[in-house]
């Protein structure tokens, strides 16, 4: 209960800070509107050949693209949020003040990313609402499966994000995780085009990335209305990623904290 209250306190603090930058919020909404319009025009212009989306027959490319881009924000958010927040608190000097309290460091890191995940959700909803204005048709008959996949997606991505934050904590800059995962996910994860359509079986690399299963599951539930039992392969794959990545991220972060305390560089930037 106390931990939950601490997480709420972080959320409240970030909300209050964000509210003090109202113009930035308005500009973000404007940016999303522009992005959706742009993708609508590009998708209309590209017109992929018949059968280019084998798993989604009858689904327009704009819908495929928009859902892919919208939900990949969770990955970008996880990759950047933990590390960026950590570095931001280092720069503003508030990290040291937090680390002097008895709140466990992993709880501080997890809580500090809550706001970003909330804002990502707002962004995703905006994408979908604006997408609907441009003709996006969503299916709501498989919402339970959708939310299970979404939760597993956030957890799996968080594992990577925490590992990325561990690198930032120790190396200060030059986080290799962020670069590798974001590039590989954009290329092989099926954000823009189905991985199967990539030449020379490059799409097979996508099987090693959680985003592939996350986007596949989300698209199937939201665009095709696929039932929960038919989404079990994606759910199982994501669970494997969660079981592997979350403990790995936490262990990496604990190690980075210990090394940084030994070196005396915990709050340095």
């Amino acid at each position: 209960m106390t931990r939950l209250r601490t997480m709420v306190a972080f959320f409240r603090k970030d909300l209050l800070e964000e509210m003090s930058y109202r113009t930035a919020f308005v500009m973000q909404v404007g940016g999303i509107l522009l992005t959706v319009s742009l993708w609508y025009l590009i998708a209309g212009f590209l017109k992929p050949p018949e059968g280019a989306l084998p798993e989604f027959p009858g689904v327009p490319y704009f819908a495929y693209l928009l859902v892919g881009i919208a939900f990949s924000h969770y990955l970008w958010s996880a990759l950047s949020s933990f590390a960026t927040k950590l570095r931001g608190e280092q720069l503003t000097g508030t990290l040291e003040a937090m680390l002097m309290t008895p709140t466990p460091i992993p709880l501080i890191i997890l809580s500090s990313a809550l706001w970003d995940f909330f804002m990502t959700s707002v962004r995703v909803v905006l994408y979908l609402v604006l997408g609907a204005c441009f003709g996006l048709q969503l299916r709501f008959d498989s919402l339970v499966a959708f939310f299970i996949i979404l939760l597993l997606t956030i957890l799996a991505f968080s594992g990577i994000g925490i590992l990325s934050a561990a690198f930032i904590l120790y190396l200060k800059r030059g986080d290799p995780i962020n670069f590798l995962i974001s590039s590989a996910s954009a290329l092989f994860g099926g954000v823009f085009i189905p991985a199967q359509t990539l030449p020379h079986h490059l799409g097979e690399l996508g099987r090693l990335l959680p985003i592939t299963y996350a986007l596949s599951g989300i698209r199937k539930s939201l665009l095709s209305g696929t039932r929960l039992q038919d989404l079990l392969p994606e759910i199982f794959a994501l669970m494997v990623f969660v079981v592997l990545l979350v403990p790995l991220g936490m262990a990496g972060f604990t190690l980075a904290v210990r090394k940084a305390r030994q070196e005396g560089s915990l709050a340095q930037y």
């Binding site: 106390t2 209250r5 601490t6 709420v8 306190a9 972080f10 409240r12 603090k13 209050l16 800070e17 003090s20 930058y21 503003t92 000097g93 508030t94 040291e96 003040a97 937090m98 680390l99 002097m100 309290t101 008895p102 709140t103 466990p104 501080i108 305390r261 030994q262 070196e263 005396g264 560089s265 915990l266 709050a267």
Partner: protein, 329 residues
């Protein structure tokens, strides 16, 4: 009286980190290893105000960061409030409050009250108990009127008082204060010192560990002091005990006229000089035969000055400190 803080043979070595290239070529980093603390042993009695004196780079902040569990020591042991630093850092953090002089450690766009509410939650304080504690501290530190203004609009004095309020949120028995009056004007500094001495130590019997290079502050506040230089404790005792460290140290104040530069005789053995408003102050070892004092007076005359009066005064802690620094290995 039991000890609130026990530091035994504490050392801290900072090693420069090797770059990837240096790791691959097995070459050494260019920067050298630095001993920030060497064999430091101190005991801070319960309920005392203990001053840690030292110039910048002496190791004061490193010691405070070790006490507040931000840095691990290279060697030695530390016990705070009976808890071992290596084994129970969470318990230590509940026992300690840290007052930093770093204004950056707050959220500038949040109000003072919102800042306190956030940091209070990190001490597991929530709801009504936290609100009441915040209201009490804002009142005690005379910040009620400014409580709902953004922290960024606060004056330096208000920021420092809010830092004090934050450190007191969980009502810790031990407070670490890192140069708490560094950026304050004399009146604000005086008020804060009074609050520290009368309220925190006098009324609430808190143990205070004060790192400062303001020797006047240490003289005014501290029951005991330790002088830290280049990571080593040069001496420890009550403020009254300090003269033995500066044995043979004397100070003279000469009221002079027509003198616009400090005489050259103020060298060997004389460690402190100042010339302000026609008052020449010199401190150091003058010797019993009066030779150096005579040289000083002769120099003043040679430079065209006239001696209106000459009186022997007690050397200040600053003057003693400079002497200790000069003698440090």
């Amino acid at each position: 009286m039991s000890a609130s803080i026990e530091i035994s043979h504490l050392s801290r070595l900072f090693k420069p980190r090797r770059s990837l290239g240096q790791l691959l070529t097995r070459s050494r980093p260019r920067a050298r290893e630095t001993w920030a603390l060497r064999d430091v042993s101190l005991e801070v009695p319960e309920g005392a105000i203990f001053g840690l004196l030292g110039p910048n780079g002496a190791g004061k902040t490193t010691l405070l960061k070790i006490l507040s569990c931000l840095i691990l020591p290279t060697g030695g042991t530390v016990r705070v409030g009976g808890h071992d630093l290596q084994r129970n850092d969470g318990a230590i953090q509940r026992t300690l409050g840290f007052v930093s002089s770093d204004e950056r450690s707050f959220y500038w766009r949040l109000t003072g009250r919102q800042n306190l509410r956030f940091f209070g939650s990190l001490y597991q304080l929530h709801g009504r108990a936290l609100s009441e504690r915040i209201a009490y501290l804002l009142d005690r530190l005379e910040l009620v009127e400014q409580a709902d203004k953004p922290f960024g609009d606060y004056s330096s004095g208000m920021k420092q008082r809010l830092a004090m309020a934050r450190a007191l949120l969980h009502d810790p028995p031990i407070l670490l204060l890192d140069e708490p009056t560094r950026s304050l004007d004399p009146i604000s500094a005086k008020h804060l010192r009074r609050f520290i001495a009368e309220e925190l130590n006098g009324r609430e019997k808190k143990t205070l560990f004060l790192a400062t290079h303001n020797l006047q502050e240490a003289e005014q506040l501290c029951h005991r002091v330790a002088v830290l230089s280049k990571g080593r404790v040069l001496g420890e005792g009550s403020v009254e005990d300090l003269p033995p460290w500066g044995k043979g140290q004397e100070a003279y104040v000469l009221v002079v006229s027509g003198l616009d530069q400090i005489p050259n005789s103020l060298k060997n053995g004389i460690t402190w000089t100042s010339l302000t408003g026609g008052r020449l102050r010199a401190a150091g070892e003058f010797g019993r035969d009066g030779e150096r004092l005579s040289l000083l007076l002769a120099d003043v005359l040679r430079l065209g000055g006239r001696v209106v009066s000459c009186s022997k005064v007690e050397p200040t802690l600053q003057e003693v400190f400079d002497r200790i620094e000069e003698e440090a290995p």
